[in-house]
Amino acid sequence: MGERTPWCSLVWRCAALALCGLVMTSAQAQQTLVVAAFPAVDEIVKAAIPAWKKLHPTVEIKVVSRQFTDHHTAMTTALSTSFYLPDVMALEVGYVGRFAQGGGLDDLSRAPYDILRFQSRWVPYALQQATNRKGAVVAAPTDIGPGTLLYRIDVLGKAGVGEAELTQSWEGYVAAGAKIKAATGSYLMAHARDMKDIIIRTGIQPGEGLYFDNQSNVLVTSPRFVRAFELARKVRQGKLDARVGAWSNEWSEGFKRGTIATQLTGAWLAGHMNNWLAPNTKGLWRAAQLPEGAFAAYGGTFFAIPRGTPVANKPLAWQFIQLMTLDRGVQLSAFKSQDAFPALLETYDDPFFELPIEFLGGQKARVGWRDAARRITAVSVHKQDAFADEVINTELDKVLDRGKDIATALADAQRLLQKRAHR
């Protein structure tokens, strides 16, 4: 073959350039950010993809969706083995506490994230929930669950009980329950455990967690636990609870049939009731603040970056988290479509908060929830919180079902938890 002509050389060079360009473009197009999530956070992430594409047209978002428990088990496995780690993982608040102690998630308070500069933009307690004992912030809050008291206005009407009677004090709430039961036969609440769950979340001192303080001292014999157990026992002795667990068939039937008159819960439950739990009861429910001026969080979702995520993906992962947690449009969109109550304070002036909620008889309940969200205080998390929760529920069952003495029950729980506090 003879020597190549300049023309021929030009063609070759152009072809090589074009090929390079093609390869580079395809490399950019192939850049993918993997986000692991559970329902309905997965839907919220998918809905945010168009907003993301405007910022990063060449970066794809791949949503890996699993059921709630499967997702958190998969994340535990991925973190422990550093295999199949997503670039961004959604975490429910209960798991944030557990994962925060491990060091498998990036500390977002450090450079280049420096998440604390955004702290004032979220509800005050949210970031604290993702902060471990060493001060590392392992996740950014996206939605929260301000506590509320949902009640059946028709059932209360028949019993001649007003909202003020329910909310003045916890003792008054129980007394109102007795009136409701006598007049209508409906139960005050699904399970006496619900009463314990809220009371132990009230009056927590700074530096204290739910079950342990910052030095891992066990707190379950403190007055708030005694009061919680006493009130729960009062509910059971008055036969004021339906003795059904949350998310059971009986629980949803109780809502549908009006045999459960009130529910202490997160604001998000109103959305679930409207969508699938008890849509036929539209207009019969109302929302109030929790009794005795209590403010508590029921759930919440966070986004975190695993430490083992490829370094090259971390800047994009952080930008994605910022979009999900700090973008007013994305936060409001999730609120409107999935009842994901925003953690971002900038959204709180949106007219959507003032809109009446049809399921709650046209009540502007979001205004109350917004107020509650601002007043919830942070609770320190401990690695053994899940186990402590289990132990306390067991001892409460013994008090309620077998008449075990409260002081003995709490002392037994204390003894069991002390063995685990430092594991």
Binding site: L79, S80, N249, E250, E253, F387, L416
Partner: protein
């Protein structure tokens, strides 16, 4: 067409290559997890911190497990369920197999298939179906009991209030045992039917000629002849009974139920690992459970092995 020599397997290596898929899978999914859990049993490990966070703690996890009230509680639950679901399986399966063997000719396969069906049905589907049946207010079991109480003379047999099957600690274990029994009785029937077919008919004919009744034949011919199969069936029940997981896990929402009445050891060690993030203690417990299974299997062997002078 012949393959090139390089691609041809020598007869010496062929068996190893052919068996390698099994060996590889067994190594990855069988041997490795076993050895890894043994290694973990001596480590303190916060799993979300990654593999590098392991710390050797000697026998601490075993000491913790043996001192853990909930571990002992789970062992008691497991033992209760193994006995309450296991023993009736054999007490029903043996006479049932004899009845099917002697009374059904053409319909035999159909009847055996019907009893075997629960065994091959998905445990998850079964547990979900039973959790609906056991529902306190809307379950068919309580509805049936309610109807029974209306029958004159039977009212005293049935409690006045609907039974809270899955909410009360004293009811959870019987509910689980019923399901496990129902699921495995058919499997044991098949085992015993297979064994019955190996007993020579001449023995029964000779016994009949000697004037032995059906009950005598059952106790003096059938039962002794079934002894090896009873040993096999009881061994499977001991091993399976001590590892009960799916049924109580689904029926109690994965938590073991009120007062952990349905929390078997298998559930507890799963929860220790994945709910309470303590993989070290969970691994130690799994090895303690293994020792218990091995011990009970050995005792079963002692109880059923042929004695001197026996047939």
């Amino acid at each position: 067409m012949k393959l090139p020599a390089v691609l041809r397997l020598s007869p010496r290596w062929t068996p190893y290559v052919l068996i390698s898929p099994f060996l590889v899978l067994f190594g990855v999914f069988g041997v490795f997890p076993l050895l890894f859990s043994l290694y973990l049993a001596f480590q303190s490990w916060e799993p979300t911190a990654g593999m590098g966070a392991m710390r050797y703690v000697g026998l601490e996890n075993f000491a913790f497990s043996l001192d853990d009230e909930w571990f002992w509680k789970s062992l008691k639950n497991t033992g209760w369920l193994a006995v309450a679901s296991g023993v009736p399986q054999h007490l029903v399966a043996i006479p049932l197999a004899v009845f099917i063997h002697t009374s059904f000719k053409h319909l035999r396969n159909g009847v055996v298939g019907a009893y075997f069906l629960p065994y091959i049905t998905s445990t998850v589907a079964i547990a979900i179906m039973f959790s609906s049946l056991f529902s306190t207010d809307f379950g068919l079991i309580n509805v049936g009991l309610g109807a029974l109480s209306q029958v004159p003379g039977l009212g005293w047999l049935v409690p006045a209030q609907p039974i809270d099957w899955l909410g009360q600690p004293e009811n959870i274990k019987p509910a689980i045992a019923i399901i496990v029994w129902w699921r495995f009785v058919g499997f044991n029937v098949v085992l015993y039917l297979a064994a019955l077919q190996t007993i020579p008919k001449d023995i029964y004919e000779a016994a009949t000629m000697d004037g032995a009744g059906r009950l005598q034949q059952f106790f003096y011919i059938t039962l002794p002849s079934l002894r090896p199969m009873i040993f096999f069936g009881v061994t499977l029940s001991v091993i399976g009974g001590l590892q009960i997981f799916e049924e109580p896990f689904i029926l109690t929402g994965g938590r073991g139920g009120s007062d952990q009445a349905g929390m078997t050891t298998a559930i507890y060690l799963y929860r220790m690992a994945f709910d309470f993030n303590d993989f070290g203690a969970a691994s130690a417990m799994s090895w303690l459970l293994f020792i218990l299974v091995a011990l009970l299997t050995w005792l079963t062997n002692l109880a059923f092995r042929p004695r001197k002078g026996s047939v």
